[in-house]
Symmetry: C2
C-alpha cells in the first residue's frame, strides 16, 4: 500500500470510546500495510466550550490569544489518540503545529498554510510509528500560534497529504460521502462515487457542508485524491478527483442551498463610474465577504444595487451602507434576511447549453419567483424566498438528477 | 520599581471571575510602575480532568503524550488571562513553553529547566506589554513538550525570575505565607516574615505544602528573593531569602509533618558489604524515591533494614523487595503504612546543641514512641505512629516556638 493521511473530525473523537474506535480503525489500516499520518480535530463541543470561556471575558476576544486558546483543543485530541494507539501496541507519536512547523501566514483565526516541515514526520514513519498531527493549527514565522478557521482540520489533512506526497487523503466524517443534494431535504439524494475538484468547490461555496472549500482548493492545487467517507463503517465514500472526460456526460452533479445569506438593496442610486468601489471598498475593509452583486440600470440615470452578505454580518454591512447614503444620494436601503440561494453545479454545463433555461422553467412551474441570478462556468445560483427552499431543491433534483443511479 | 515575576496557581485562576480578579491585580501592579511577567497554572480541576481522560485510555499512559495532554491546561490559562488583561486595556501577550524556549531535559513528567530564551519576553516588556507565560511546561532540545511535575509552575516562575534577573518572584497562593506549622493542626501557628532558602527546602521536603522543593532549590541557586503571599488581599506574606546571621537566633523555624510515607522493614538479613546496593539499586531503577533508611546490626551477624517510601509506591517497592528475599536470605519483610514523619527545622541548630534531646524529651513526655530518626544539619525528623501526628506537632510547636511572635 502507500502513505495515507486520514482525518477524523470532532464527532469521531468526541468521547473516549470513540477515540478508542478510531485507534482500532487506524491500527487496522496500519496492519494492512499502510504508512499513516492521522489528523484530528478537537473533541466535539470542546471548541465551543473554549470560545464560551473567551466570550465570558471579552465580546471581541483578541485574535492572537483566541488562537492560543482554541489550539489547546486539538492538543488534547492528538495526545489521547496517540495514547489509545500505544495502548493497542501500535507505536505512535503526536505532533503539534509548531513541532512539524505547519507554517502559515499571520491571519489569526483564518490562517493559510504556506509550508510544512515534513522531516520529523518522515523519520517517525520510517521508524514504524503512526504519526498523529493536530489539525486546525499552525505557526507563523515568529512562532505565534495560528488557527485555520472553520473546517481547518480538513485543510491540515489535505496540506499534509500534498507536502508528503501521500497516495490519498481520507476524510472521515459522520456522513457516507458527498451527496447530489442534502438527504435531509430530498429523499432522492444519491451518494456520488466521484466528483471533480471544481464541482466540489462550487458545491462547498454554495452551501454543501461536507467539506470546507479551502481544503478542496488545496486538494485541487496539488492534485491530492481525497476520499470522503464515514467513520462508522467501511463502505466506499466519495472520491474527489481531477476532472476527466466522462464527467461531461453528467449535466448536473449536485443541487445545493444556503440559507445563511442576507440581501441588501441600495435603491435609486445615481449611476456613475466608481460607484461599486465606493460601496464595496468599506465593506471589504470591514472584513465582510460579499457573495452575489447585481446592478440594474434604469432609464432615469439611477440604479438599484443589490448584494448578499453572510447573515451574521448583515447588521454590520447595513451600518456601513447607511453611512454612505448621503454621499451616494441613494433614495434608501432595504434588507431581506428571508432569502435562500439555490445552486445547481456540474462540469457538464461547460459543454451543454440549456441548463439555465431548464432551471428557470422548473422553478417557474412551481411558482417560485427568482430574485437574483449568478452564474459561473459550472454553476448557476438563484436567490429565492427562503420558504421555498425545500420545494426548489426537490424540484431541481428531480429535474436534473432524478432517481437515476449516479455512476 | 522593577521587574517582577508573579505566579498565580490553579485556584487563583479557577474561574473566569477569578481570572478577571487576577487581571485587576496585575493591572494595578503594572500601573504602580512595575514590569511584569505572569506565570499561571491550569485552572483548578483541569489537570485532574485531563489525567482522568488519559486514564480512561491507559492505566500507565505514555509519558511523552501525557505531557502533551497536560500542557494544554496552562495554554488555556495564559490565553484567558491575556484576554482579560487586554479587556482592561492593558497590552498583554501569552507565551507557551516552546515559544520562549523554556528548555528542559527529556524527563517527561518531571523535567528540569536548563535554560530560557528571554529575548521575546524582553522585547514584549520593552513594548509595555505584560507577558503571560505558561507554567509547568517546557520543551526538550527536539521540541518535544515536557512538564515539570507537581508544583512545576512555581519552578517556572522562579526560573523566569532567575533568567530575567527579576527584582523578586511573587508566588500568589490561597494561604497568606509560610507558617511555623500547619494552622489547621496547630492554632498557635504563626506566619513567618522571612525564612532562609535552606529552611524552606527542609520544610518542603518534610511535608510543608506551600512551595514545591524544586522551586526553592532554584531560588537558592540563583538567589531569587521569593515572596509567598495570598492572591486574595494585599497583606505581606513570607519572604524566602538568603540566610543572614540574625536567623541563628531562632532555634526552630518550623514544625512539619508528612503522612504520605510507608515504612518497609527487611528482617534479619545476613549482614555483608553491598547489601544496601543490592536492595536500593532495583528500587531506584523502578523510579521509587526512598526517604529515610536505617540499618541496625545485631550481634548474630544479621541486620534489620528499614526504609520509607511514598505511600503510593509502597506496593511496587514491596513487590521488588519480595523478589529479593531468597537472594538476601532475609527472614521476612514487614510493611507499615500507619506512620507519620514529624520534623523540626531551623538554621539555629547549626550553632545550638540540644535540639534533638529536647525534641525526644518532648515526645516522650506525651508517651509517643519514636520508630526512626533522621537528621541533617538544620533538621531532625522522627517517624512515629500516625495517630499521634497532631499531638506531636502541637507539643513540638509549643516547646520550640510557643506563642511568641516570630520576627
Amino acid at each position: 500500500m502507500g502513505l495515507l493521511v486520514q482525518k477524523y473530525g470532532g464527532t469521531s473523537v468526541g468521547t473516549i470510546d470513540r477515540i478508542k474506535q478510531v485507534a482500532d480503525k487506524v491500527r487496522a489500516a496500519k496492519l494492512a500495510g499502510n504508512e499513516l499520518v492521522i489528523v484530528v480535530s478537537a473533541m466535539a463541543g470542546e471548541t465551543n466550550r473554549l470560545i464560551s470561556l473567551a466570550q465570558q471575558i471579552s465580546e471581541m476576544p483578541d485574535e492572537r490569544e483566541k488562537d492560543v486558546l482554541l489550539a489547546s483543543g486539538e492538543q488534547v485530541s492528538v495526545a489521547l489518540l496517540s495514547l489509545a494507539l500505544k495502548e493497542l501496541g501500535q507505536p505512535a507519536r503526536s505532533y503539534l503545529g509548531h513541532q512539524v512547523r505547519i507554517g502559515t501566514d499571520k491571519a489569526y483565526g483564518k490562517a493559510r498554510i504556506k509550508n510544512i516541515d515534513s522531516s520529523k514526520i518522515r523519520a517517525a514513519l520510517k521508524a514504524g510509528e503512526v504519526v498523529v498531527v493536530a489539525g486546525f493549527q499552525g505557526v507563523d514565522e515568529d512562532d505565534n500560534i495560528t488557527t485555520l478557521g472553520r473546517g481547518g482540520s480538513d485543510t491540515s489533512a489535505v496540506a499534509l497529504a500534498a507536502f508528503l506526497g501521500a497516495a490519498a487523503c481520507e476524510i472521515y466524517t459522520d456522513v457516507e460521502g458527498v451527496y447530489t443534494t442534502d438527504p435531509n431535504v430530498c429523499a432522492a439524494a444519491k451518494k456520488l462515487q466521484r466528483i471533480s475538484y471544481d464541482e466540489m468547490i462550487e458545491l462547498a461555496s454554495t452551501g454543501a457542508k461536507v467539506l470546507e472549500i479551502r481544503s478542496v482548493e488545496f486538494a485541487k492545487k496539488f492534485s491530492v485524491p481525497v476520499h470522503v467517507r464515514s467513520t462508522f463503517g467501511d463502505v466506499e465514500g466519495t472520491w474527489l478527483v481531477k476532472e476527466d472526460p466522462s464527467m461531461d456526460q453528467v449535466l448536473v452533479s449536485g443541487v445545493s442551498y444556503d440559507k445563511n445569506e442576507a440581501k441588501i438593496t441600495l435603491q435609486r442610486v445615481p449611476d456613475r463610474p466608481g460607484l461599486a468601489a465606493q460601496i464595496f471598498g468599506p465593506i471589504a475593509a470591514a472584513n465582510i465577504v460579499v457573495d452575489m452583486i447585481i446592478q440594474n440600470a434604469s432609464e432615469d440615470g439611477t440604479t438599484d444595487l443589490t448584494f448578499t452578505v453572510p447573515k451574521a454580518d448583515h447588521k454590520k454591512a447595513l451600518g456601513i451602507v447607511e453611512t454612505l447614503i448621503p454621499a451616494l444620494q441613494a433614495r434608501g436601503v432595504m434588507v431581506d434576511t428571508d432569502i435562500a440561494k439555490i445552486s445547481v453545479v456540474g462540469v457538464g454545463m461547460r459543454t451543454h447549453a440549456g441548463v439555465a433555461a431548464k432551471m428557470f422553467e422548473c422553478l417557474a412551474a412551481e411558482g417560485i419567483n427568482i430574485q437574483m441570478i449568478s452564474t459561473s462556468e459550472i454553476k448557476i445560483s438563484v436567490v429565492i424566498d427562503s420558504k421555498y427552499t425545500e420545494l426548489a431543491v426537490r424540484a431541481l433534483h428531480e429535474a436534473f438528477i432524478g432517481k437515476r443511479e449516479k455512476t
